[in-house]
Symmetry: D2
């Protein structure tokens, strides 16, 4: 199967159409776009991709469900106002997804995946630190809360590499013991495009189902495995270094062909996955090399504010 090297449904749909030279929409996929904000500076685009049947599922290797991508232009220089506006869009979209699944006061567990000690992977744990939790107050001092406060709890389970425990195993125990009705999972994603790094947000009501992202070995975190609906909030924070290399090669091949210099060898290359060829460039296999903006530390801080506020106002 095609290696998309992206976790974004929107990018996968675009890649699939391009690869198969499809002009119309893929059967089993519905898509629409919306553009907010007149100011060019802080324009925000919302794309809604819906996978409606098995054919769509197979095409982009993402389960049936809704995938909403929020793209923020020039996020690097976003103002406090822009952060606020973006978080309100997250709140609106998230609220709709939650209301489709559970009742108004049903308890929610927010899960921040990732490793706090690895900058581009620290978003999830950082968001958790800002979530307004209420579960302990409802238990021990309900008098300080307003009537009709939803029960919110939050956890950063760490990553397999530092715990030795599958995230799913940790979450299973917590779900059994604390009985939330819905999970919101924040996760750092791989994107195909470096333009999207820490400036796009994907909301999905299908949970986290490992596909062709950076880390294929993770176990599914979804209704299938946990028994309750799982909303995933994914933010691209890295591009695989091999993606950059492979994309460069594709460009070169196109250039060669545009110049009418095509030859059999290049045509053959075109069809293969170029990964093998570029392994030599990216040899030190014990490392996991990533492409990231130099400013990633600051971008993660801002995105944390957007996501945390987005969730805090959506769940209350």
């Amino acid at each position: 199967m095609y290696n998309f090297r992206t976790d974004l449904a929107l990018e996968r749909r675009d890649l699939y159409r391009k690869a198969h030279n499809i002009q119309e929409e893929i059967d089993g996929i519905e898509a629409e776009e919306e553009s907010l904000g007149e100011q060019k500076e802080e324009q925000i685009n919302i794309s809604r991709v819906k996978v409606t049947n098995e054919n769509g599922e197979k095409a982009i290797n993402k389960p049936i469900g809704n995938y909403i991508t929020i793209d923020i232009k020039n996020f690097k220089n976003i103002s406090q106002d822009g952060i606020q506006k973006t978080s309100e869009i997250v709140t609106n979209e998230l609220k709709k997804l939650i209301q489709n699944q559970i009742a108004d006061l049903d308890p929610i567990l927010v899960v921040g995946l990732g490793n706090i000690y690895v900058t581009p992977d620290a978003l999830g744990p950082k968001v958790i630190n800002e979530i307004d939790i209420t579960r302990h107050l409802l238990q021990y001092m309900p008098e300080v809360l307003e009537e009709g406060t939803r029960e919110i709890s939050a956890i950063s389970p760490g990553v397999l590499g530092t715990t030795g425990i599958e995230t799913l195993e940790i979450l299973k125990g917590i779900v059994e013991n604390t009985k939330p009705k819905l999970l919101i999972v924040i996760d750092a994603l791989a994107s195909r495009s470096i333009e999207r790094i820490s400036s796009s947000i994907q909301l999905a009501d299908t949970g986290i189902v490992p596909g062709a992202g950076v880390d294929n070995t993770r176990k599914e975190i979804s209704k299938n495995t946990l028994g309750i609906p799982v909303i995933a909030i994914g933010i691209p924070t890295v591009v695989d270094a091999a993606t950059i290399a492979a994309d460069s090669l594709t460009l070169l091949i196109q250039e060669v062909q545009n110049n009418g210099e095509s030859n059999n060898f290049l045509n053959k290359l075109q069809e293969e996955d170029k990964y093998n060829l570029i392994k030599e460039v990216l040899s030190p296999e014990e490392y996991n090399f990533i492409v990231t903006p130099k400013e990633i530390d600051g971008l993660i801080e801002k995105m944390k504010d957007v996501i945390a506020r987005g969730i805090n106002f959506a769940v209350n």
Copy 2:
């Protein structure tokens, strides 16, 4: 009951003896001291307090079991060599406690309590990041490990205030799903003496049983609640601000009495807990004020190295 305002068994025993004017050992308590290192600079003292019966239990409000306190002199200026030596002492003591409880290859889960975002409370999570875990390797790629590698996993469950979930609830689920035979729990403690802040280590084979420490509301993490033995590694990182105030008052009263100026009012104060009197000084109740060395960030980094190496060599 007496408010010890310390989690260290050693300090409680001393306070109890002083308060009751006991010269000999308390019935139900055994204690011994050992001094290592000739260099005055990096002298290390080991105190072993054993609670042997219910009377001892009541006296210091600590369950029957072993409490080993390692005091490092001048930890602030400790060298790399000193860190190494201290970690070896932790390894030795910890190894004995582990061997008393489980077999050589029985799996162990290491738990780092505390909040990574609050400096004096971040020790537990920081240690977890340095633990050599093997559980996932034993499952997915055992060929990279030597024969006879123990299964080690590790987790930072966060704190009630940021998760909304009791630590015990989180650990119960993980213990059920991953089936370790023993828990090692790292925890930041309150001490009575500012000399001990981040320069003492208490090992206990009784788990964590909330007593008169800073945070009385926590649920017990022990064999009683989890069904497997729990070894606690506690490091004092704060002194309650009220302790400093109360100790100052005690000193004043003694001074007054030593000067033969005693009066009834002071005598009465002596017997009461002075907490009410000093509430006015420490009024802003929504804050949790602590006394800590200005250098606490650096001390926590060094102590993390001691504890992580101490554990890594004890469990393998």
Copy 3:
């Protein structure tokens, strides 16, 4: 001279009046108060203390000039809106102080004192990281800036303990080479009251003149030493542990006397500084013990936003 153990002019004036039983204002001091915000939750008080002559100077050991203290109620739970409102107050007050000293486009150097690796001392360096600097753009690519942009540069010179160089020596060289017309210096202060920790802001047009604060050995940073006006923005982030102890003793003595149990010894103590008595409590002299809220890490993050935005809008 009296050891105020606070850097806030407002607290010194109050302590002086109390100590000398003065009801009216001190000769050489003028003071006024203003209260903003109706919502009890986020009420902000502004106090303006003006030292007008040498007598005032001597009384509170602060040079002639203006000292504006902004107190924010319940800063711990402040909302994004509250942070914005507070920063606007800082902008207003700071703008007036700047306009009194220099012309509209005169260059300004912002200096963040403190040690980034010591949490309660990290405010200055953290603010510097958020200042909108323009000096390099004016030099290398003025076309990206609007007409009439002021030249702003910023520096974190570190602390004597990690550089071995007096801050004044570092700043002298930079002022000579880059020729700003005014300095804004951000500094963490000691306060007398734990209520003020990270919830008060003092603006002063007199620079930083070491008095009875935590660190007496620092050299003056002011017009006297640098030749250009220096505006200081100070935020209390710690209380000296000895202050808590001494205040507890004072309370006890008052209590004793209120109960008609006064005696000569206590009367004498009342007049002396109790520091000697409490040295025993606070013995480990190699450490610098401080009292701070457990939540100091989070408070510093919020205060950083207030101060950085306050400055960014005041200078442009």
Copy 4:
């Protein structure tokens, strides 16, 4: 001139020889290698490249002087022992460079370039925090130091992007005011090879002279500009994303040619710089994209220990 896209003299010499098909040594360059450590695990290689005349200077665009590169194998998994051993090698090499330039007790200023808030750029400031400084003690309390202690001071001047001030301008003032006889400057470099990221160390006695590294606009920090000798310690922490792309293209072209499928267009491409071609891949120009190991945060911590200990023992 050739764009080396590396700051390492060793890599430049290799690239130059390859590009010009030179088998013997370049005129004006001398080079030798040394291999330490038998254990494959922690093998350390030392390469000494000496630029001896103007021809050598022009060939690799590095001034006349000594360039020592220390390569550590498998730095990612280095033990405490390995860190210690590597730091001793740094000490030995650094000591020789210092002794060539100044007398035994001549004062030294250690400068940590870089931005503490950008992980791959934070090495310099982090090292500064660990340097054993003595200058303030020699001034204020010489009695605590041993006879014959060298005067050491240290500074992190920040980066142009956050200060608005050229590093050279800041250093000039400090050198004038504090009068050191030698500067040791720590700097994060760009490397050509991802294998070298945070596992190589380059010592040079020529200071920092901007060449074809990531950041060409910096001003020279050297004896020419400061009047005292400058030893540079550079550690590769990033590879420019464009380097990965360009290297992929080179590989492809070679592959095509090896397959006897060479054609004119590819030959032409070979001669040009492929940068223009790959600009399309790396379009978002406002970001500075880098390739870095996912584990960079942890690598920087370990490298900090190596460099700080290396310096501390070399200067005393």
